[in-house]
Symmetry: C2
Subunit: 221 residues, 2 copies
DNA sequence: CGCTTCTTTGAATTTCGTCAAAAGGCGTGG
DNA sequence: CCACGCCTTTTGACGAAATTCAAAGAAGCG
């Protein structure tokens, strides 16, 4: 199962065994803070089960959700290689299992298997491109377009279905750069139009095509 | 001089010689497009002299400036390691000298000097953190705060002085997520207040502290 | 000097955030 | 099992912020 994590992809079995040997495994309840913005970064993390949200707070109260982490994805890893300051909070969005490795172990693994550094480059390169898209969207698009795009991003990429994460309106708003009020308004409007339904903290997408229309600024057909 | 580029930092002289041998050097006029969004990525670039802006356009006409590249910084490099699709345009902001290396040469260099992959990780890790900050700002702050922050980012970090890049109002707007009209209004207001002066495409900061106030949402003292 | 590009400024409009308040859900503990 | 309190969602009304449109100056460049 470790072989499915993006950090350890395409590594020989021997490397997986070694990574497994030095991994710390933690079962955490929902809404548990794994690390805090400003903490010193001393471990590399990955989600095995459940989900984690990465939340950044500004010196004013403003918060934004930078990213949701799904099983198999790593997080909190980049600062190990830069300035060792964690730039955001990590909070479980539901009961989750989280793996982590000490900095020393990670460095030893990278030395032993240079392909790992290529994996890291590929992963953070992909995230960089995603964030660039979000910067452009936040800079140029309306709130409804961004919210529709957020739903598309959070839904599994194949066909219709449930969002991959349990979300409150507040979370959705902080992820798409708006307020929970406008997020609520738009969701109820779209639910009325049959695009989606919202049950508790789960959202089901019925009409992906409609969301694409909305994300491009067109109105519902 | 190559040793000053972030890509080749801390490498032995022998590596610099080799990098120099296979580098392509180009003198380009201002507003020259180096590559285009959607192109296949086949080279790694760095600015030796001048400056380059990285501009992303959406399927609607909306444009955003993702980043300005100063001498010594690399650009267009990440997609070499991911999907080989360039996610944005690169355009010289003034007459510039641009270095580039073929993918094969870069890979050969990385194989020979594994420290280079660590350099790459450090560089794109740093950019990732910067972009996270911008996402939060775009999501939570007002246009005037973002514009003030943009000016702070673009000015040299020590004391007052001239911005590092020649900028039109449109560029400033596309970099801070607003329109050229509001950017113009705010700049003239701040110029009247003595915070800065604008001469042609160059902006001089007189009162960095005031910009910090503005970026935090407070009004001018 | 004439042209293009860029900047400024005003006025109207839209979008969106803010505030307030009511209604709904959910879990805990009695 | 019910009642209570807390958290979340919904909805309306209002106002502030920022975009849009229009048009006139200003500045650079051939």
């Amino acid at each position: 199962m470790l072989g499915a994590t993006e950090l350890l992809r395409d590594l020989p079995d021997e490397a997986l065994v070694r990574a497994h040997a030095c991994a710390r495994v933690e079962r955490l309840p929902g809404h548990h803070r794994i690390f805090e913005q400003g903490d010193r970064c001393e471990r590399a993390y990955a989600v095995a089960k459940g989900s984690v949200s990465i939340v950044q707070a500004g010196s004013d109260g403003g918060q934004a959700i930078i990213r949701f982490i799904a099983p198999g994805e790593m997080f909190g890893t980049v600062p190990l290689f830069t300035d060792h300051m964690l730039p955001a909070d990590a909070i479980t969005a539901e009961p989750s299992v989280v793996l982590s490795w000490s900095e020393a172990d990670i460095n030893a693994l990278i030395d032993a298997y240079p392909r790992m550094s290529m994996n890291i480059i590929r992963v953070i390169g992909t995230r960089l491109v995603e964030l660039q898209d979000r910067v452009r969207e936040l800079a140029t698009q309306r709130a409804d377009q961004r919210l529709a795009r957020a739903l598309l991003r959070l839904s599994r990429h194949d066909g219709n279905g449930e969002l991959a994460f349990p979300l409150r309106r507040k979370d959705l708003a902080e992820f798409s750069g708006t307020t929970l009020y406008t997020a609520s308004r738009m969701l109820t409007a779209w639910a009325r139009a049959g695009v989606l339904t919202s049950i508790g903290r789960r959202i089901l997408i019925h009409d992906r095509a409609a969301l694409h229309f909305l994300a491009e600024g067109r109105s519902l057909p």
